[in-house]
Amino acid sequence: MPIRYARLISLLLVLAAPTGVLANPFEQQLANGLRIIVKEDHRAPTAAHMVWYHAGSMDETNGTTGVAHLLEHMMFKGTPSTGPGEFSRRVAAAGGRDNAFTNKDYTAYFQQVPKQKLALMMQLEADRMRHLNLDSKEFAQEIKVVMEERRLRTDDQPQSLLYEQALAVALQAHPYRVPVIGWMNDLESMNVGDARTWYTRWYVPNNALVVIVGDVDHQEVFKLAEKYYGALAPRALPARKPQLEPQQTGIRRLTVKAPAELPVVLMAYKVPVLRDVEKDVDPYALEMLAAILDGHEAARFSKSLIREQRLATSAGAGYDSTARGPGLFFLQASPSEGRTRAELEAGLRAEITRIVKEGVTTEELARAKAQLVASEIYKLDSMFAQAMEIGQLESVGISYRLNTRMIEKLQDVNADQVRTIAQKYFGDDQLTVAELDPQPLPQTPRAHTAQPRH
């Protein structure tokens, strides 16, 4: 490893632990099983407060897909002590911002507030962790909102539809095949009882993690956590079935037709994700491969496919090494005018073949590592990004304390390892190819303009 990176790594370690506070971040677990992680950051008088529930769309069952996300919406609809919509009103009155997000692995809620308001946020989150109303009238309105969200983000977005369909074909048994927002028909037949079942099953302190980053004293935060969250009763969690994906033994292809101009080719290869931070090698090499293909404006895909060959108008690679479920390595591109989807697929495959045959250069690898180290430092500019990092790692079962170790392991990846994983995982038998076949808009009469009726 070139020495100039080692120096930056030590800088990173110093920054991650501000002067004299080597234990930062701090961690505590309450008697009811709730874990609290506090990272002190005194650069500005604000704080980020997040609650992560270890339940996402992968914990759903067929017929009620989308219930994890629907429940996220219902969490703003009131408790016996906080009326519908009152949660957000109180956060806003405190000068805060709040929202929530649901993913395959988790459901998370957050507020960003002036630091004086942290206690109020903890009180409000603790309240809705166990005391949600789940009123059927509120449900009836909110399910309509969620269906609008699905129309907005998926049904009318050709690339989202393509991705949704590709996952459903690439995976046949594992619940990652189901969209987080849920299938429309499941949303149409969902009722408040489904939401209640979900809430009762997963919303307990022993299935949650509280992450706080900001201008706070961790001792005081732990006292507040005990005060607000400490009284909540734990409950045993249901068993989680592994639902492992059976071996894929041949290429899978699908086509999606939707109104668009540009075709898209999306290729998904089955690859491993990180399970053992110390022993695993391949996930780190796959991260480096993604950076070498698509880490900057002159990375391989852009340089070769867009700039030199002019085969693609856009091209990208994506891989996330941390996930509860199975891993996929995506290649995605749109062809230039006059070039076909088949030519583009061949072009994407040729880039992988080139790595298998010729490997990657030490310059490329060093470049990817330099970007990685810098981006770790840039992350420190955002309290929210730091809280996200802790929560995301923990929600896939990796301790946030191993983050620096993961960065070191990424720094250790060599060119041979990148070549080896390209050889190992990018065969046709583990591949799914999805194509967006663009459809012209129907010919319509010219737009008409009228005087409005106010």
């Binding site: 930056l8 920054l15 500005a44 008088p45 604000t46 703003f76 519908p84 919509g85 009103r89 806003a92 009155a93 000068g95 805060g96 911002r97 960003q112 507030v113 002036p114 308001k117 009836a140 309105q141 399910i143 909102v145 969620v146 609008e148 129309r151 907005l152 049904d155 009318d156 109104p259 668009a260 101009e261 540009l262 880490g295 900057h296 404006e297 002159a298 867009i306 700039r307 002019r310 230039s336 005018e337 060093a366 470049r367 970007q371 180290v373 810098a374 981006s375 840039y378 500019d381 309290m383 663009p438 808009l441 129907p442 737009a447 008409h448 303009t449 009228a450 005087q451 409005p452 106010h454």
Partner: protein
Amino acid sequence: MKSTQLLCALCLSLAGQIAYAGPKIDHWVAPTGARVFFVENHSLPILDVQVDFVAGTAYDPPDKNGLAALTQGLLDMGVQGMDETQISNRLADLGAQLAGGADHDRASVNLRTLSTADKRIPALDIFRTVLTSPQFPPEVFDRERARTVAALKDALTRPEAIAGKAFWAAMYPTHPYGRQATPETVGALERSDLADFYRSHYTAKQATVTIVGDLARSQAEELAQQLTAELPTGAGATATAPAPPRLPEASEQRIAHPAAQAHLLMGLPALKRGDPDYFPLIVGNYSLGGGGFVSRLMKEVREKRGFAYSVYSGFQPLLQNGPFLIGLQTKKLQANDALKVTRDVLAGFLAKGPSAAELQAAKQNLVGSFPLRLDSNRKILENVAVIGFYGLPLNYLEHYAENIERVKASDVRAAFARHVTLENMVTVVVAGE
């Protein structure tokens, strides 16, 4: 008694927050004529630099829509002594991030780098050459023009893009803010157009340099001078600065589309930077549709009726009057119902203004959330760049809270009556047939 207690509690909490008045902004004019704004902050080994030019899309010549954006996009794709690959590789080697874009008024380029000298100095040197010696190589120009045309054609199939383009054209039928790049206008551009546009608009006198982070004042002075010393010395853009837009007549445009959801936009040219009505308008807008889940539009359109996932209103102040707009998406069949509810909410707000409780909630949030607007170097950079480019007072952040506090309900009503006039409101509905 109760109300007095409440009031005092409010005073105390606000006083506590007002005490955080934001970063100290140093300002000077570089010998080159560039205006410089600097916030010194050594808490992280990071330096952010942004240079804004008076070279946004409003400066596209009438028959060359898309020129400003394409010029900005090609700045880092070939400079004196380095081709596009070398530029990108060297920046990546240093861990530096170069970004930018063009909006209606500004063309921006910004660099984020580690502040240690071994990274900072070479990264800033590349940044300087990107600003001062772009070459617009012919083969790069051909390629990027084709990519832009492809992206524009694809956008013209999407309901949100179709709605946005029709909306701006309706609001600004004869004004530069209404000009739209199309596949035809971009396809007709030539390489010499870019070079000419660059020479006349990317001048030091038209540049604002914003520097935030781990640098000393003396170094910042030197940096601003270096970055702008070799910029072109062309005539500059002030001669063609956009005139105030004329208000359009009210209209409603319906555009058919096969999408599941209708996209609704309504608005008008309403507010420019530095307008004294800015504070009453943003306080009022918070209650109308800017305050997320607590706004009237969100309550009526989403919470009560489940018509939409997203519904909002907002002002986008520009050098000349920028839009006030309301936007939402709803399934095709209920587009007219949603439009009616939205218009009723707006009319009700214009007639009566915010209630006392709404006004208080708006102030509490806008004042209380002030520290959140400035809690990272990135956010400070964005805020200070706007202050610098638009010539807002240097104490803008310092007086922000008291300017919000001063707003009365009658100010909101009067300001909305002046700026949001229904007889000038244009409406665009795509996929609402």
